[in-house]
Amino acid sequence: MKDTVISFDNVSKTYKLYSSTRKRLLGVFIKKIPYKKKKAVDNVSFEIQRGDSVALFGKNGAGKSTVLKMITGVAFPTEGTITVNGRVSALLELTSGFDMEFTGRENIYLKGHILGLKDDEIKALEDTIVEFSELNDYIDQPVRTYSSGMKARLGFAINVNIKPEILIVDEALSVGDAAFRVKCQKKINEVIHKDNVTLLFVTHQTAVAEEFCTRGIVMKNGQKVFDGEVHEASEFYKKMYTIKK
């Protein structure tokens, strides 16, 4: 039986670019203020089934991040409809939703509360998260003192351990060291296969994507140019890239 968790139906997203912030403020009140339109996502449609693991390929500015943001519910489409069923856990950026003044441990609770978990539910996950992040004593230091690798580790540890139904990983894995990367990949593999989590993965390293994705979508200039088996998608992406060179 088909169990669609994410569906994009002719989705387009246009950003409004004003020449200055003052114009943007005036644009709120006056419709006539001119602005440029930038189409970040152009008429994209696809469906993703439960348990799928999909890689998104594309150069910078191809619209991958915008697609992910729309799935997460952070950004909204200008046209078309998006349906998402399930709890989305997104690692959009390294510092995804951290409060810099709080310690790592406090951030675990903060993030849990924001996602609607109860104290005892978070407590049950706390040790796993701390252990996974390998932060040791640093877990009780403010996040602003963390290095980018530490933030990425904590972010990944939280997102992957709060039992997501849809996991979105946006290049976060490229930050940690090799050992941690392997650990993350193992963990991702585990959640995909054990818990039937739907994975959306964005990376420039096609080899990593091929490891645990079965399907690949290639984007270019906001449009979907390829959608199919991951190896073929990776080939397509590489070819597109070399021609460009």
């Binding site: 989305v88 950026e93 995804s96 609770y109 924001i114």
Partner: protein
């Protein structure tokens, strides 16, 4: 006709969404407001003491300037100026901080908007709530000060929660509107900051508006200021001993302002909700 109906329905729907988001996220709102408090006060060595030191210093400075400097420190409504000042100015501490703090609330919590899906209408609420907790503590202290100063609580103090809740709701609507607009551009937040001072001096926080009662036009314009309504409401409880329903005209003016702000906040939400993540990102 249908157009008017659609127009109204779109606003009613946002209002329902606003209320629904609040009801569904009560634990998150409280958790985040306590987190906000912790963040404000745990960074400094004196910590929580600042919540009291800051208002005490401010009150002293105003009292010194007005009573000693300008020699206007005589009794007002039968109580010493300092007490008259204190019981009104504590409400301004909340209101003034809410006018500017509310304007920055969306920017301050931009990560709740750009990094995850979070009910946006509740951001001003938890942001204001953390300050409201402090306000409650200060209000209790002021009740004690009055008591010690020989003015024990009267039955009129029972209406204080009415004014407190009106104040909270009013500035919550303001914060949603101002927060959303200033997220689009910092100009708005600068505009608010420059107006904040005028709102303060043109309210009856420091000086008694009854002094200008002879000039009816000026008097009624000054009385339109919602800050004055709340501030004098506090004084109704502590000093004047008047019930809020005994001044129906003032209450109606205030509720009119409130209705306007709610409308503006819904308008801002409707217009900007989808654009704001793009701007803040």
């Amino acid at each position: 006709m249908n157009k008017i109906k659609d127009f109204f329905m779109s606003y009613i729907n946002i209002l329902i969404l606003d209320i629904k988001e609040h009801l569904e996220n009560v634990p998150q709102i409280f958790k985040l407001s306590i987190a906000d408090l912790k963040k404000t006060y745990t960074g400094a060595a004196l910590g929580w003491a600042w919540a009291v030191i800051k208002p005490v210093v401010t009150i002293f400075v105003y009292w010194f300037a007005i009573a000693i400097g300008l020699r206007q420190g005589g009794d007002i409504e039968g109580v010493p100026y300092i007490l008259w000042l204190i019981c009104g100015i504590i409400s301004w501490f909340y209101m003034g901080d809410s006018i500017t703090g509310g304007t920055d609330c969306i920017r301050r919590y931009s990560y709740l908007i750009t990094k995850m899906k979070y009910p946006v209408t509740t951001i001003p609420t938890h942001n204001n709530l953390s300050r409201f907790f402090v306000h409650i503590i200060i209000t209790v202290i002021v009740v004690l000060i009055f008591w010690i100063g020989g003015y024990p609580p009267t039955i009129y103090l029972l209406q204080l929660p009415v004014y407190m809740i009106l104040m909270f709701l009013f500035f919550n609507a303001w914060s949603l509107f101002a927060g959303l607009v200033s997220a689009m551009s910092k100009d708005f937040s600068n505009l608010v900051k420059s107006f904040n001072v005028s709102v303060f001096w043109l309210s009856g926080v420091l000086w008694n508006i009854e002094n200008v009662k002879d000039n009816e036009i000026v008097y009624s314009i000054l009385m339109l200021n919602p800050v004055t309504f709340i501030c004098y409401g506090y004084r109704n409880c502590f000093v004047n001993h008047v019930w809020f329903f005994e001044q129906p005209k003032r209450l109606l003016y205030f509720l009119g302002w409130y209705a306007l702000l709610v409308f503006l906040s819904l308008w801002a939400y409707k217009k900007l909700r989808k654009e704001i993540p793009d701007v803040l990102a």
